[in-house]
Subunit: 340 residues, 4 copies
């Protein structure tokens, strides 16, 4: 960490801060410029330095503290440069093969779920998605069928052979969700619900962590660090669009995040173009883009009758559109050295 | 709700949608323009119409659905035009008198808490703030002393007579927090944690609901509706800054929200200039601004030794700076017909 | 346009507004709901209706005006559904073949420009980019060699056969820039400089219009409409990233904009991944993504010695990296039915 | 400036960069950490260092360059700590007295202008605003009466004694605008139109520089530096709201900017609550807030008949509402040691 003093800091100020830092066991590297004094803080753990940064910025003669190291370790690239591969009932995520997760936003009925599951399976999807517990901006909206829906997912898994992914919103539901689900999904509204992140970190079920709609990449990786630091290393990062001033689309899908995360982390990166756009007509192009940018997979909403969907109908693909998309993706992935 | 069809919608499309709406019990008002057809949907509950909107936008010949009514009821202005007053152990929030909540970000030690409490009390604060459970972006940071801190808050209340406000992050902690706290605080990272909102709605302890850092005003009011619709009407809305592209300040304090919320809702509105700016030097001016704009109160971080604070030291006022601020505010509030 | 009255609008208010609208020659469609009155305004030109919207929203009993039609015509999809093709000295933009524009951010010396030009030509670029007039956030930065640089570009064109694109910032430079350039570039900081847009609309040189860093897609198309409505129809839209809260990248490249613009407009769409990311290491993945999403071409910064570049060195590719990118793109474009 | 090398930088890399910096005349301060090498660059002009930052970040073994000094000088606080006062025909801006500029968004007719001018004068305004040249998002909207309007403004000045402020959009209009106007306004869409900024810097008429709707405070000050570095020091900074995700208001008025600018710069700061909110009903509260936060003045749209305004009617105050606002402000300003 580097501490930059204001230009009116006195010699006394300088001595005080240096002494304070030494007392905390830090090494010190003082650099006296014409205008400003810069103090390099050396040799302690990063987490400690972050705390120090917050405290020292409170001093009136400190202009700024600049952290030098990244505020995450376990999920950082250098921790596992070869990349993480996650095996979910035989489907490997993070390897040469890219992975498609598809299904309805919400599990509504057995018939709807099975119709969706068979359709996406036929088109080539590897994993079945479906919401049992749903976050809704309005308290009066539909919130999912809960355990009933989990059971339907388990049955669909049995009939199709596809592992299932479903969202968990409440730490108190974790036990029952882990009983049925193969991958736990953490939604965007819970991306900084540290209570839930910590609990999920204590499970051994793989986790798909969606980006918070206003999370910077660094904060997103820190959220992943919460899970990893509690012992669960099987984490996928899922870009689902960020909130910006643009209103034509529901969110702005941050395509830059794919190569950026591949630089910064060893975790697999999954695209959610359904929430990333909010419009079914834009989903195919954006999914193709994500795979071309290096995504390890995608999670796409497919509904047999989007106009009857209880949630997010406007962003769901029909089975026919999904099949068409899978064909397009099979053209794209070889161009980046992958299979689908 | 108004449904606007695309210009290439056929007569058949039109008939289909009208029939579908009638079958759901909606009244229909058809308006055939030169270019486009517009369907007014009449007479049903809003919440139902919102659901319908999502579904109908999935139809290829529907261009847009425009909601006419606000997606919240209990927290809307017309539900209680005279405004809500919340009585917390004799301190009334939402009345003529404005209210100051102050204290350290985090409860660190008994000595630190008591020193802060006595200082803010002396300067004129009405309510004592202090964090027992702290959300931190990094898993390696300090997360609060939990129940120990709650007990210290209760003791500080006894010695100073000030009611206490503290954050709750986990529904499983609610019972114990309610035992000690006079006001429950929901933080920005949990502003769309619907699990927590619903549980807090089942308590009878007043709630201060911070705005999500990327919540639109409408979404914020819907979050409040979650609490109210579960039976807890004693809600304060707390503007704490939103996330924008500006990096000089930690957040952008949305001063527009004060008059906007006074138009839209009957709930008291509180300012959090400490998080809204992230810089102690900007806190006094922004607090004055909030009171001038109609805030019913403020919640301000004060720490006897900001440079030693375990969290957020750089945004904490010293006791001297806080006392100075209180004097300034006493000049401002009469200008808007209030007292402090 | 639809005008929604507040719930406390009186019958008198309603009559006043209807009369006023009729006097302006509008057709009226009144729809009296239980809670609110909705007035459909029919049959006039959009532009007029937009003006009316602004005025009527000033009335205290009008809640909202909802425009139904798009605020642009000449650049809208329905004006030319088959799409616009622009022929620049034999290079066709908007056809089956995708187009690569490449070269240094800024023309520095004849040697640097020629070295860049030959390198990008060899790798397969079609058009040479290079800045003669440069916008800089700081007044003390380098602002380009002006006419000298234009002459160097013309010479590079002669030696390589590649048409040239360069930015124009000042309406007073238009004449001289048109003398040398084959495509005029409007930069992001001038994306709403209507003076310049109008003048460029009076030229007959094709224009590449960058998106304003805070322009919504609709505003961007209105900026294009400024050019088209002055007679210049040869417009390319260039996505170069928008400003968001993310700080790891210089901008957030809005990949959604590609399929969105293909729905809304007939104009070719070009990607600028150099500014869209601000980091050379992210450029290849994001360029591949843009082509997979339907871009008609890209404009990429290439510098023989990025660390010596006078501007934007950190986002420039080396010639070797550019050649590698061209090879990757040749794998991608057939997957979307295009050539390169 | 500080240059941080990546952890895999070699000794050779280090030597290369140090040699390169020395050759450019910089002093060097090398700090070898356990993980990373940090190079302090000392003693050169900031502007040069900024250029260097861009170039060195292009090197593969450089992780980051951290500027230490502010990228502006003439408009920085330390250049004139006592603050700038601007005298406009006897009205002093930046002194103890706060200043109100008011009038219609657009000069429409002589009658409308005079009615507005007399009304705002009567209520206590000091300066008359009115648009002669208007930027409009749509090319089909009204763009102002030009020179005709300038003449009407001059006449209104003569009859009321109030100096006038009006927007200039085109460098070619500068001469004629300076002939009539007492203050030149640079609008938000031209806030980074460096051509115009430079030309305005060559005038001797005071300038009100609006913040770009996506400008960070630092960029805004750099825009002001463009004007100052060309010789015109009479600059006012005008906060008019920034673009964010919030859609209830037209912009988000950044109240933090007032104390922030008072820390960073010596220039007077003016509030534009009309554009900052976009809603007449929110203007009074936000104007009060700005004065409480330290604004040196405000510029407010007032129209005798807002519902007939040719532009921005929905954000214009009626004369009665304006008079009421002035009375409220007279209560607020003494609380911050000012007069009105």
């Amino acid at each position: 960490m580097i501490i930059i003093l204001t230009s009116n800091a006195t010699e006394r100020n300088r001595e005080d801060i240096v002494e304070n830092l030494k007392a905390r066991g830090f090494g010190i590297h003082l650099s006296q410029g014409v205008e400003k004094t810069i103090i390099g803080v050396i040799g302690a753990l990063d987490e400690q330095k972050l705390e120090v940064a917050e405290q020292f910025e409170a001093l009136p003669f400190v202009e700024r503290c600049v952290p030098i190291s990244q505020p995450y370790k376990l999920v950082g690239k250098s921790f596992k440069p070869e990349g993480t591969k996650i095996n979910v009932r035989g489907v490997v995520i993070g390897g040469e093969q890219t992975v498609m997760m598809a299904g309805p936003c919400t599990v509504e009925t057995e018939a709807q779920l099975m119709e969706s599951a068979l359709a996406v399976k036929k088109a080539g999807a590897h994993i079945l998605r479906g919401g049992a517990y749903k976050p809704s901006t309005s308290p009066y909206s539909f919130h999912g069928h809960g355990v009933e829906a989990l059971k339907m997912l388990a049955q669909a898994r049995q009939e199709t052979g596809m592992p299932v992914i479903t969202e968990v919103m409440d730490a108190r539901d974790l036990e029952v969700v882990c009983e049925y689900a193969d991958i736990l999904q953490i939604g965007t509204r819970n991306a900084q619900n540290y209570t839930l992140l910590r609990e999920v970190g204590r499970c051994r079920t793989p986790v798909l962590l969606k980006r918070g709609m206003s999370s910077r990449i660094e904060e997103w990786l820190q959220a992943a660090e919460y899970i990893a630091s509690n012992g669960n290393y099987d984490i996928m990062l899922c870009e689902r669009g960020i909130r910006t001033f643009e209103t034509y689309t529901r969110n702005t899908f941050d395509i830059n995040a794919f190569p950026a995360l591949k630089e910064l982390s060893h975790l697999p990166v999954i695209a959610d173009p359904s929430h990333g756009t909010g419009k079914a007509s834009l989903v195919p192009a954006v999914t193709r883009a994500a795979f071309a940018a290096g995504a390890d997979g995608a999670i796409v909403e497919v509904h047999p009758h989007p106009e009857k969907a209880l949630k997010d109908g406007s962003q769901s693909l029909t089975p026919a559109a999904f099949e068409q998309l899978m064909q397009e993706l099979r053209q794209i992935v070889p161009a980046v050295g992958r299979t689908l």
